[in-house]
Symmetry: C2
Subunit: 362 residues, 2 copies
């Protein structure tokens, strides 16, 4: 790994394994299976390592196709379906991939049913339920929900909630509440459908914070989580993990010093870390990331405070002099948001020297 | 283009040509040649179209290698050199590429000279001069400057300034002043070197704002600019262009509606636009970008206010009801920062239907 030119993404598989075991054990006690979200790693090797060939969630059809090529057969495409994309969905179904789509409107349901009928296929679809006003979905009690269900007919597979607002839950109590609410709303939506005489086989919930905070998932059939394989400073900021759990870092090299401004300049800019400033609104703003030495040991007080395309600026949080980091020193940046940082890279360099590929595109 | 699944990057070559002609004409009146920065497009087709096989600037050695493969022979790598990377520099020099490196410290100069001596090569190097406290560089009057020059010996090629702070110059007067200062500091640094009996063949200045604002570049041998080929909302926000000049947009599709929150949901999230919020600190915060119809006509008042990985949220700036945009409607997002948005894509879809590849990595 030390012969590779910086910047590059570093993956600590010990931490990956520990993170995977933690959620696996927790969900085992709750008795609910995991549907791994692969949007964070977009790596078949990572998915194989933490989840074997188990059910997965994807954020793009390109991911679905990539993981189908690698043998995955149970895939949920968890972004509201654009009817233009249904031909690619059909192609995957015809390859024997059990691909489920997501929707939250009558217009989408009608488009899916019409397409499925024309293609003589079942296109399994979940209805997205809004549990916290975060993004998409209909309310569990919305009269539109059974209407969507009827419009889907035999394509109706169940309901899905995502507690996206749990990323802003800053106490263990708030996290538990978000998890309970996510479960309660999903189960309520299933009850609405069943009360209307419709089937609801799948009751899918999940986000990394709520997956860890949940204490009761009665009525839920699967939990989705993805970020937890790597974790990041946003997750550490809400207490779901500690900085010692971060499996993904970015290796950079010191290329300059600005003693007058108490700054160290590296060759890792936003192209390597992403522009994500997810901790900006948290109690502790971590800039573009914390700084560790080449072996991953945090350097206290040092923060990546600035980023150009291929330059990172390191400063101290408290104005103390920056440590002596000579030209050529290798460092590792702990990212705010692992999904965004990983997306800047085509491969992961394992501490062992092995290289794992990362997929991208749509 | 309309048969491609969204999201994807759209390139309007009419605007590209117009932007290229504008700077070409301006620099012709100033009598200084352009060294195109290819870090924005990372596309050989774009560079060929706006600049032929002329001199280029790169932000990574991977770019240098990629453009060398395409026949470019005069390349400036404008990020401070990490001595570990010198073997790749040597490989390019031995291929007949006139590759110039950048540095701002005695330690780097000594590493370059020692390497060049050992390899029996000349490694042309520019000394980075700090003109505005933006990032790297030594002051034009710093006694370290001639010391670095002497340490470089025959490798010394000249000086370089980059007025990075001009991105925060909000009036035509401030932009002209930034351009004048960038030129003055570069020429002063050349004078320092020459006064110490050292040669200074190259006096390189540039940034998109200052390249357009400069009125006198006496003593300057080349101007660097890259962003101007695409422009973006940050550049429009400081008055260097208008929103009608933006050549790069991101095509997205409407996948949902949240009438209760007056929101439209699209399939273009931060994976398609980047997390860049470069207009956040400007007079008008453009969120994650402005919104145009499928033909690129701005939809007044509509802003991309939120972004998840694969979801965009559109709202109105003034709380007026969002326009009627049915499921499946195609839109185009005008980005804050073209360099960051382009980096999220592997190809550009031209309005004509043609596809141009984009390079990435290090």
């Amino acid at each position: 790994m030390t012969t590779v030119d910086t910047p590059f993404a570093v993956l600590d598989t010990d931490r990956l394994d520990r993170n995977a075991a933690r959620l696996r054990d927790h969900l085992a006690t709750l008795g609910v299976p995991l549907r791994l979200h692969v949007k964070t790693s977009k790596s078949v090797e990572v998915a194989q390592r933490v989840h074997g060939n188990g059910p997965i969630t994807v954020s793009t059809l390109a991911e679905a196709e990539h993981f189908a090529d690698a043998g995955y057969r149970d895939v949920l495409y968890a972004v509201g379906i654009d009817p233009h994309k249904l031909p690619r969905v059909a192609a995957l179904l015809r390859r024997g991939v059990h691909l489920t789509v997501l929707l939250d409107s009558l217009a989408q349901a009608e488009a899916v049913t019409s397409f499925a009928h024309k293609e003589n296929l079942r296109v399994p679809a979940l209805v997205e339920i809004d549990c916290d006003g975060h993004r998409g979905g209909v309310a569990a009690t919305d009269p539109a929900l059974p209407e969507i269900g009827w419009a889907l007919g035999a394509n109706l597979a169940g309901v899905l909630t995502h507690a996206g607002e749990s990323y802003f839950a800053y106490t263990p109590g708030a996290l538990r509440e978000a998890a309970q609410n996510e479960r309660d709303v999903a189960v309520a939506a299933a009850t609405t459908l069943r009360g209307a005489g419709l089937p609801c086989e799948v009751v899918s919930v999940g986000s990394t914070p709520t997956a860890h905070a949940a204490t009761d998932l009665t009525g839920v059939t699967e939990v989705r989580a993805g970020n937890y394989v790597f974790f990041d400073l946003v997750m550490a900021g809400i207490g779901v993990c500690t900085t010692d759990d971060l499996a993904l870092t970015v290796a950079v090299t010191v290329i300059g010093h600005q003693p007058g401004r108490n700054q160290v300049i590296t060759d890792g800019g936003w192209m390597a870390t992403s522009r994500d400033r997810g901790t900006q609104a948290q109690a502790v703003d971590q800039g573009y990331g914390l700084v560790a030495d080449a072996d991953g040991r945090l350097i206290p007080g040092l923060v990546m405070t600035g980023a150009s395309q291929e330059h990172g600026v390191l400063s101290t949080r408290d104005g103390e002099p920056v440590p002596d980091l000579p030209l050529g020193t290798r460092l590792r940046i702990l990212p705010n948001h692992a999904c965004a940082t990983a997306a800047q890279h085509d491969r992961y360099h394992l501490v062992s020297g092995e290289v794992w590929a990362r997929h991208r595109g749509w």
